[in-house]
Subunit: 271 residues, 3 copies
């Protein structure tokens, strides 16, 4: 993990993100915290050109509009053509038919290196729980009890999409359809901060962009680093601190994390 993490700083890859406006600033700062360089662009006139010059492309389904979906597909085609890794974050894919249909179209048209979502989102893509909408979150939660079933769905989706699947929650699973890694890093504050998932997907894109030869380990590294940084940020919280401070501490923790520290403190296992 040390080498994977340090390579982001060394290579400072350009990450092109087409993402929602709720957390777009946090995603840009997360990419910068990791040592990579962000560019946000979504005009159909320029997305293919910018994706072609980047080392990684992030497609985030939050606050989707139909013109943005078109831009994502244009950018995805350009990235695929040049072998630039694409990371897909199916934000709230179970919340509407529009997002679900768009996600399917996107996965049909664009080959994604990694799909990163919470349990509800990944299960929705597996056509499990998609009809339950937003309230399905609790039932889907990725805990020790649901681990076996969730890992099986994640592995199936990985095989079907030829993507690495990162399913994150109380437990994080990362699989290429064969090996399944799991870690238990993270903290409950992450669910009280908007954009913690989006930021993780941005971090995964930076890691994969700098390590295109090993997207599985790069994804696992980013997922583990984010969990670890959540813990570091939570430990820094004092009386009177809430999700405002936690947001700052989380970015700070990623900014300060070294490959050495990550290697030393990260725990993960093959499932």
């Amino acid at each position: 993990m040390k080498t994977i993490w340090n390579r982001v700083h060394e290579k400072a890859p350009l990450v092109h993100a087409i993402t929602n406006y709720v957390t777009i600033n946090d995603c840009a700062n997360m990419v910068l915290a990791s040592g990579a360089s962000p560019i946000m662009a979504e005009a159909p006139e320029e997305v293919a050109e910018i994706s072609s010059r980047s080392q990684g492309l992030l497609l985030n389904l939050g606050m989707l509009r139909s013109d943005k979906l078109e831009a994502m597909i244009l950018a995805g085609h350009a990235a695929n053509k040049r072998g630039i890794p694409v990371v897909f974050d199916p934000v709230g894919v179970g919340a509407s038919a529009f997002r679900m249909n768009s996600a399917r179209q996107l996965l049909h048209e664009v080959s994604c290196s990694v799909i990163r979502g919470n349990a509800s989102e990944i299960l929705s893509l597996c056509q499990v729980g998609s009809s339950q909408g937003v309230d399905a979150a609790k039932a889907d939660a990725l805990t020790q009890d649901t681990l076996v079933q969730n890992a099986s769905y994640a592995r199936d989706l990985a095989r079907r999409t030829h993507s690495i699947i990162a399913m994150t929650g109380e437990i994080d699973l990362v699989t290429d359809g064969h090996i399944v890694y799991q870690n238990h890093h993270g903290c409950s504050m992450l669910s009280r901060l908007t954009g913690s998932g989006c930021m993780l997907s941005a971090l995964v894109t930076a890691a994969v962009a700098a390590n295109p030869e090993d997207p599985l380990l790069a994804t696992l590294t980013a997922v583990t680093a984010m969990g670890l940084c959540g813990e570091i940020a939570a430990r820094r919280m004092r009386e009177q601190d809430g999700n405002g401070s936690f947001r700052t501490y989380l970015l700070d923790a990623v900014f300060c994390l070294t490959g050495e520290k990550l290697e030393e403190q990260a725990h993960y296992e093959i499932w």
Copy 2:
């Protein structure tokens, strides 16, 4: 107020927001700080579906575009149909004919449970001061001197729109057209932070979504809580702190506020 506030945490209602991009992240984090869950969506293809599944809908006029107005109306219709409370924030309604006409159309088509704005915005909706544009702010300011006149306009607007009106500033007024509540909580820093009004409207939506049976008290509770949290945040400021830190402290204060503390420290009176 204790019960109203605690119910947001207990019920964790889903709040659908169609809002401006300047403060969209702050609004999402404010909803999370209150214990509710935010979803932002504005594509015409999905807004009705998402509103229908939510417990509260926030419509914010800032940075309006015509396609967004259409989405607001679609979402508003869906919410009205199911009796889901709608909160309207007429951001900068006096700043252009486009916003004023859009606000009128929206109020004509959508039944709003609550309208929350500063004095200039509420007075503009009353067709008072609307021609003075953005510079009207000082003349309109809600102070002890203008209280009688402003309360009268707020009450009239409440009766005419069948909405609860929250008119906020140095003094805050909340009225259903009959009772007028006022409180003096708040601090001057709130006017030096972008989005303090938008965040308050988001908090009102969360409170009303969790307490649909008492929107008047829910609105008063959110308005009072925000003023109190502004004071808590201001007291936390140290040398070298400015509006950057204040933003963090404000979110933190809402995150940490318990119903018990609110009940104990909140002061408001019937006018």
Copy 3:
């Protein structure tokens, strides 16, 4: 500089910004930190009206879309007609043909008081390095070695566009085509924070809006203040702090900066 800076607080000019969504919140808070008042609006239906009522207009090319370009031109025409200063920030202009063509069209149609960009952006506008795209950054960096050449390009662009050019980086240059000012304020953290350039352009707009009679000195003042505030923010950083904290500290530093302190600590020279 003292008078220029204090006048922003005294006049509290209204700044209309049409800007990218990545850093739009930071720009609004930066305008408020300076003592000015921000309004963001981009609907073609209202931009001319809002620009006409403002004291300064900021046009930022980041995340450009074609409909936004149209709005920028409408707003720019309205501002030009009334002699309201326009500040242009050509974000990532070298990153795509779309941005370059749009920038040219904008400069052709709108008379800009100030153009503020990093070295790559300003050189791209000079048609130097435009074909090198995003990776040109290092070669273009504004350091002691490239100073003579960069100053010459900046001066030429200033003469050709009749604009003040602010080219910022390790060294900052401000020129009206005749005098060239330089300062060495700033810190490396500014390049690890998204929006530091956008925020500077917002600060320049506030300064010029409050001091329309001396846009050259107003621009120099804002550029110098930002560099100084970057240093103040960097000195405030403690162990565990990263770009999350730096963002807060930077806004805080601008918020707390007085004209007296700026006058005392600012160093700049005529080149």
